[in-house]
Symmetry: C2
Amino acid sequence: MKLYDCAVAPNPRRARMFIAEKGIEIPKVEVDILGGENLKPEYLAINPRGLLPLLELDDGTRFDEVMAICRYLEELYPSPCLLGRTPVERAQVESLQRKMEFDGMIAGSEVFRNQHPQFANRSIPGGGGVEIEAIPALVQRGTQTLSRFFDALEAYLENSEFIAGDAFTMVDITAVCAVDFVGWVKISIPEGNARTKAWYEAVSARPSAKA
Amino acid sequence: MKLYDCAVAPNPRRARMFIAEKGIEIPKVEVDILGGENLKPEYLAINPRGLLPLLELDDGTRFDEVMAICRYLEELYPSPCLLGRTPVERAQVESLQRKMEFDGMIAGSEVFRNQHPQFANRSIPGGGGVEIEAIPALVQRGTQTLSRFFDALEAYLENSEFIAGDAFTMVDITAVCAVDFVGWVKISIPEGNARTKAWYEAVSARPSAKA
């Protein structure tokens, strides 16, 4: 296996944290998104959408979505469990992971891409080089969504150490990656959200957070 | 179990088709999204995000994301298998399902919600009643994404009867629901896409398509 990766990008970081929590080693191939290397013919031949991360198996099979990669690795390396231990837990992790992804990562991406000059023609990821103009109004919409993301996070942490309960899961990985990502656009955990701040410190102190 | 449902809405339809393919019966509670019933206090008490569908278990546990619902039901009722038979297939289904969802369902939602007067202050789902203004530029961006969705669909069907291979899966369910949904905004399978048209006819003829 090898992981096509980008050290600075938030979605590849989700996969790297997952892999680090599993305690496995997968060789990495760095692709420079900021420099546009993911939209050059060499990488588009590997992933026509130009997205990272991408996991390539030894037989050439490729998975180009973080959750597809994580789901595959969870089956190969079930311990420690990161996607839920029972059918109910797995459904809860799926549901919460999506909320962290949509309201955190994707809202952050809308705010970032639609105001950053380097992404003026790359309003959404996955265009594979097709120009899609920035839409400035998405900066406000994304900011509104992020405000709900932070409210929800504080609420989820009311009765448990981690977002999905007493165990660290992929939900925490996506959420901490989202929190750090939105820091790029100067949005941070609201001052009064003490539970979120404590959770953020604890999760950021895990060795996997530096993967 | 019971399913909070909305007969006309495209995401509840994904869950209903999945349930019908499994051959199981789950009582339904109809919630009228077009009339705004999902944003009234009664339903917000059940799902603060105001989203449909939602599966409620007999012990009160609730899952409010289509894929969380489907993942749970796949574990309880493994046959017929709709989310992949092996770790590789399950990762492929996850990856393709997401493409159908992001490039089809969500792009369609951007086009629909940002031009329909009834959604003028509901630019994205999940706001739970918080007003989020429509952004007309998303109609064009969504239309561009849908064009890529249809190209990809035709390509996926090059070597197989169904999108993820030789078996009908959740990928086909999300894709057919997306195709019918974007019909609301007068976007349809491009004239020359013969494989997609044949697939669409075959999938639409399954009894589950009427669920």
